[in-house]
């Protein structure tokens, strides 16, 4: 079980959280204007990166807020967490290509 440092509450056990999946794909403003392929791609398409990736997590059993987590998908290490809207911490390797 992971320990996730909630940016509002501090480190807590993974059971208190719910993972919201990969961050960085905002809902299309007008879904009705999309064709099926574009809608499907938004709905189901994920990068599924091997290495550090950014995810949204919900501190369900704590403060109830959503925030961002950088997690290395190779070894499950939580690299950093920060509130939505705040700039991502530097040096996490998020920009580098898939290792």
């Amino acid at each position: 079980m992971l320990v996730i440092p909630c940016p509002f509450c501090g480190p807590r056990e993974e059971v208190e959280f719910a993972c919201g999946g990969e961050a960085g794909s905002p809902r299309p403003a007008d879904p009705g204007a999309l064709d099926d392929a574009a809608w499907t791609a938004w709905l189901w398409g994920r990068v599924n990166r091997k290495g550090p990736q950014v995810e949204t997590w919900w501190h369900q059993a704590g403060c109830g807020r959503w925030f961002l987590v950088a997690r290395d998908s190779r070894d499950d290490r939580v690299l950093a967490t920060w509130p939505i809207g705040a700039p991502a911490p530097a040096g996490l390797g998020l920009e580098e290509p898939d290792p």
């Binding site: 320990v3 919201g20 999946g21 392929a37 189901w44 994920r46 990068v47 995810e55 959503w66």
Partner: protein, 598 residues
């Protein structure tokens, strides 16, 4: 009460307070410090169970948690029943009652033992191929009968009146294993200011050192037992150190989450009713040091499962711990130097050691010590069979030719009541592998040794392949320094290693290296004595004529290796095929019932 195999002196037992327990309704006596297994051996009882499926008679094989045979149903009062308890781990307390399992009508006359005779006529899948006809008979006739024979033990029928608690803790360093390497590392780290938890499965600290006697290492001029007595004082002033005994680390997850199971009251005569029976520690260490030790390997030869054949290390452990001789007339098969140490210690304790057989050409320094002590050494020999009823009466020894085959001439039958087998050691790397550490086959050690692991994890001592105590302590020092540096804590204080005198063991011969010693009757050669699995001859290389199954390149591989995931789902539809490469349609795993995007 008679304890014919108990010595008058020695051992870590309190002879002033005899304890009586019951085994299958009969009285069995022992002392505080005994385990159920040592009390059974002290009484001279050999038969303690029946194997799974073939119901072959089974006796005590080991002295520790690796015991495959001595599984008993232990009762401590109404509702307090544990089936399949390992007799080697159950500490003796008054009022305890144990019962043997998996035999009907009695352990000695087990009707299901007939399966053993018929084993050649029971191919794999026998049940499923045989008992499906006539329709309806399965539920009414076959299933109830087979259910009675299947499995081990009987589940308790009444509710458990005991309480079990959780505890959540954080610490800087978790040290797993209270042997010499673990004790050294825990002391160093605590004195450097780290918050340390030391978890050890045994009742007292010392680990494998507790199982050594006069042939073991001498530390600062003292035998291991005497040296260990001085240790607790040293650790007490060591800073923030929580020392947990009777605590097994059950899991170490790749996230660094450790589960510790502490047995709190089972060894107490009148436990405080406010205490829980067991406590589950959920530990969040920042770093972990594994000093989990090693377990000894049995040997392969026909009828290697007769009662009275046990590990050399176990014989030493029962002698050093509970002053119990596992036999009066002993033969030792030393594929590793542990056999010589057992022979020397048992001979010094009054057992008649009739022969030490060693297939290795160049036995080590302990061999000369054994010869100096007047023990008969048969270099270049190996056991090729055993004789007796369920109990061992004699062992067949044969000289080996240059290729490691028993040559037909000169075979000798030596009467004995115990055969101690020393097949070398397997490092206990389960937790290392579970936490994500790598393993690689090491031909010299004939074992899988740890390679690289997560940054927060180190392994030291016999678990990392150390052959001597000095090497184990040096590894512990190095690992502690690395972990403390990784945590950003002060380096461990410079403490000189204690002066150690110990013979450097000669390389051991792994049990599988002499296929000709068991190939004459592979069906009676048991690799796993609990499930009665013989060597898998029909499918293995050796059965098809490969001369040496022991060649390291052909050595066993670890059970599970990650393979490249292959897509199982149908090929993507045309529209999704146009998506950029590297995007997949797999959804990130998330809990069910909370669908819908943020």
């Amino acid at each position: 009460m008679r304890q014919p195999f108990r010595l008058a002196t020695g051992g870590r037992i309190d002879r002033s307070r005899p304890i009586e327990v019951r085994l299958d309704g009969e009285r069995l006596s022992g002392f505080p410090g005994d385990t159920l297994a040592s009390a059974i051996l002290a009484r001279g009882i050999r038969l303690v169970g029946r194997s799974f499926k073939r119901h072959r008679p089974r006796g005590i094989l080991t002295a520790g948690p690796e015991e495959p045979n001595a599984l008993l149903r232990v009762e401590r009062g109404p509702g307090r029943v544990d089936p399949n308890s390992r007799a080697t781990l159950v500490e003796l307390v008054p009022g305890l009652s144990a019962a043997t399992q998996n035999a009907w009508p009695s352990l000695r006359h087990d009707l299901a033992g007939l399966f053993d005779r018929a084993a050649s006529f029971l191919p794999a899948g026998f049940y499923y191929k045989t008992f499906f006809r006539p329709a309806g008979a399965w539920e009414r006739l076959f299933e109830p009968a087979i259910r009675r024979l299947a499995g081990l033990g009987r589940a308790p029928e009444t509710a458990d009146p005991d309480r079990y608690l959780h505890r959540h803790v954080h610490c800087d360093l978790l040290v797993v294993g209270g042997g010499p390497a673990g004790l050294r590392a825990a002391g160093l780290a605590a004195r450097a200011g780290a918050r340390v938890i030391l978890a050890d499965e045994r009742p007292a600290p010392g680990g494998g050192l507790l199982d050594t006697g006069t042939a073991g290492p001498r530390i600062e001029g003292l035998l291991a037992a005497a040296w260990l007595e001085r240790l607790p004082g040293e650790l007490e002033g060591a800073g923030e150190l929580v020392q947990l005994s009777r605590t097994a680390v059950e899991a170490l997850h790749p996230s660094g989450h450790a589960l510790l199971l502490e047995r709190v009251t089972d060894h107490l005569q009148e436990p405080d009713p406010r205490l829980p029976r067991e406590r589950l520690w959920q530990v969040r260490p920042r770093a972990v040091l594994l000093a989990t030790g090693r377990i000894e390997r049995p040997l392969l030869f026909p009828d290697n499962d007769r009662l009275g054949i046990l590990l050399a290390g176990a014989a030493r452990a029962f002698l050093a711990g509970q002053a119990v001789l596992v036999g009066r007339d002993v033969v030792v098969a030393a594929f590793d130097d542990s056999g010589y140490a057992a022979a020397l210690e048992l001979a010094a304790a009054g057992a008649r050691v009739h022969a030490i057989v060693d297939p290795r050409g160049a036995p080590g320094p302990l061999a000369s010590a054994a010869e100096a002590a007047g023990l008969r050494l048969l270099a270049g020999w190996a056991p090729v069979g055993s004789e007796g009823g369920p109990g061992l009466r004699a062992v067949r020894l044969a000289p080996l030719d240059r290729t490691g085959r028993p040559d037909g001439r000169g075979e000798r039958t030596v009467p004995c009541d115990a055969l101690l087998v020393a097949g070398g050691w397997t490092p206990a790397v389960q937790l290392w592998a579970q936490a994500g550490g790598g393993l690689a086959w090491d031909a010299a050690a004939a074992a899988f040794l740890p390679t690289r692991g997560p940054s927060w994890l180190r392994i030291a001592g016999a678990a990392a392949g150390a052959r001597t105590l000095a090497e184990a302590l040096a590894q512990a020092d190095r690992a502690t320094a690395e972990l403390l540096a990784g945590l950003g804590l002060a380096p461990p204080p410079a403490e000189p290693l204690p002066a150690i005198e110990e013979p450097v063991p000669a390389p051991s011969t792994p049990p599988w290296a002499l296929p000709e010693t068991w190939r004459r009757d592979p069906k009676a050669t048991f690799v796993d004595s609990r499930t009665t699995s013989p060597w898998p001859t029909s499918s293995s290389r050796c059965a098809r004529g490969s001369p040496r199954p022991s060649t390291p390149s052909a050595g066993p591989r670890p059970g599970w290796r990650p393979t490249r995931a292959r897509p199982r789902h149908p090929p993507p539809s045309r529209s999704s095929r146009r998506r950029p490469a590297g995007r997949s349609t797999r959804w990130h795993p998330r809990p069910c019932g909370r669908l819908g995007r943020p």
